[in-house]
C-alpha cells in the first residue's frame, strides 16, 4: 500500500513540475528570448509617410539588403485593393518583419513575429492607393534591414 501511494505522489509531482516549468518559461518568453511584439503601436500605424513610420518604430538607418530578404510583389497590381505580398528572410535571429506601403495614407501595413520553429516567411495582401514602393523591413539582432520594390497600381484600393 505504501509503494502505491508513493508511486502516485511521484507521478503527480513529476507531471506537475514538468508542466509548471514549461508554462513558466513560456510565459516569461524564455523559450525564445527577445521575440515578442510590443503593444500595437498607434503612432507607427497612423504614420502618414515612411519617415514618420520608421521613426515611430525606432528604426535607424535600415541597411538595404536584397540578398537575405526576398520580397515578392506583382509588377503591376490588377486590383489595388488586393495586392499579394510575400516576404522571406534568411537572416539569423529575426525579431520582427514589417511590411510598409510607401505612399499609402497609413504607411505601416503589418508587423509579424515568428517564434522558434516557424519559418521567417509570410504572405499577405495589402491595399495600395497608388503606384509606389512596397517595403519589407526586417529587424534581426537589433539591426534593421530593408528591401523595396515598386508596384504599379492602375486602380487604387484605399477607398474614396
Amino acid at each position: 500500500m505504501n509503494t502505491e501511494i508513493n508511486l502516485e505522489r511521484r507521478k503527480a509531482l513529476k507531471a506537475g513540475g514538468g508542466i509548471g516549468l514549461f508554462a513558466l518559461f513560456s510565459a516569461l518568453g524564455l523559450l525564445r528570448p527577445g521575440v515578442a511584439l510590443a503593444e500595437w503601436n498607434k503612432t507607427a500605424f497612423s504614420a502618414k509617410n515612411m519617415d514618420e513610420a520608421l521613426s515611430a518604430m525606432g528604426v535607424t538607418t535600415p541597411e538595404n539588403n536584397a540578398v537575405f530578404i526576398q520580397l515578392t510583389v506583382p509588377e503591376i497590381a490588377e486590383n489595388g485593393a488586393i495586392v499579394p505580398v510575400k516576404v522571406v528572410s534568411t537572416l539569423p535571429n529575426i525579431e520582427q518583419i514589417s511590411i510598409l506601403v510607401e505612399k499609402n495614407p497609413n504607411v505601416l501595413a503589418a508587423n509579424f513575429i515568428f517564434p522558434a520553429g516557424t519559418e521567417s516567411m509570410v504572405t499577405t495582401r495589402v491595399k495600395m492607393g497608388q503606384t509606389c514602393n512596397v517595403v519589407a523591413l526586417v529587424k534581426a539582432d537589433g539591426k534593421f534591414y530593408r528591401i523595396a520594390k515598386e508596384v504599379k497600381v492602375t486602380a487604387g484600393g484605399c477607398g474614396g
Binding site: 513560456s26 511584439l37 500595437w40 503601436n41 500605424f45 485593393a81 488586393i82 495586392v83 510575400k86 506601403v101 499609402n104 495614407p105 497609413n106 504607411v107 505601416l108 501595413a109 503589418a110 508587423n111 509579424f112 513575429i113 515568428f114 517564434p115 520553429g117 516557424t118 519559418e119 516567411m121 509570410v122 504572405t123 499577405t124 495582401r125 495589402v126 491595399k127 495600395m128 484600393g157 484605399c158 477607398g159 474614396g160
Partner: protein
C-alpha cells in the same frame, strides 16, 4: 457578429503550412458612404495563431491590410488531427477565435 475564418493547415515532411482567410471589412476610415459620410475605421489590429496552445505566429495589422485579411505561413511540426487555433482582435474590441485540424498534405 463576425463571420468564421477559413483555416487550412496541411502537414508535409514535418512542416505544417497554414492558410488563413479572415472575414472582416477592414475599413480604412477614408472611404465615403453613398451619402458622402466617412465610414469610420474598423480593422483587425492583432492576430495570433497557435498550434496546440503554443503560439506559431503573431501579427499586428494596420489599415493597409486588404479586406478579408489573408495570411500564409509555415512552422516545423504538427501532425494530422492536431489543432490550429487562430484569434484576432479589432480596433473596436471585437474578437474572434476559430480552429481547424491539421490534415496530411
Amino acid at each position: 457578429m463576425s463571420n468564421p475564418m477559413k483555416i487550412r493547415a496541411a502537414v508535409k515532411d514535418g512542416v505544417t503550412e497554414v492558410k488563413i482567410l479572415m472575414q472582416h471589412e477592414m475599413e480604412t476610415g477614408l472611404r465615403k458612404d453613398t451619402d458622402g459620410t466617412l465610414v469610420p475605421a474598423w480593422f483587425i489590429t492583432e492576430v495570433k495563431a497557435q498550434h496546440q496552445g503554443r503560439t506559431v505566429l503573431e501579427a499586428q495589422f494596420g489599415q493597409s491590410i486588404s479586406k478579408n485579411p489573408y495570411l500564409l505561413f509555415r512552422f516545423k511540426g504538427g501532425a494530422a488531427g492536431e489543432k490550429i487555433t487562430v484569434s484576432w482582435v479589432d480596433n473596436k474590441g471585437d474578437k474572434r477565435e476559430d480552429e481547424a485540424a491539421i490534415v496530411a498534405a
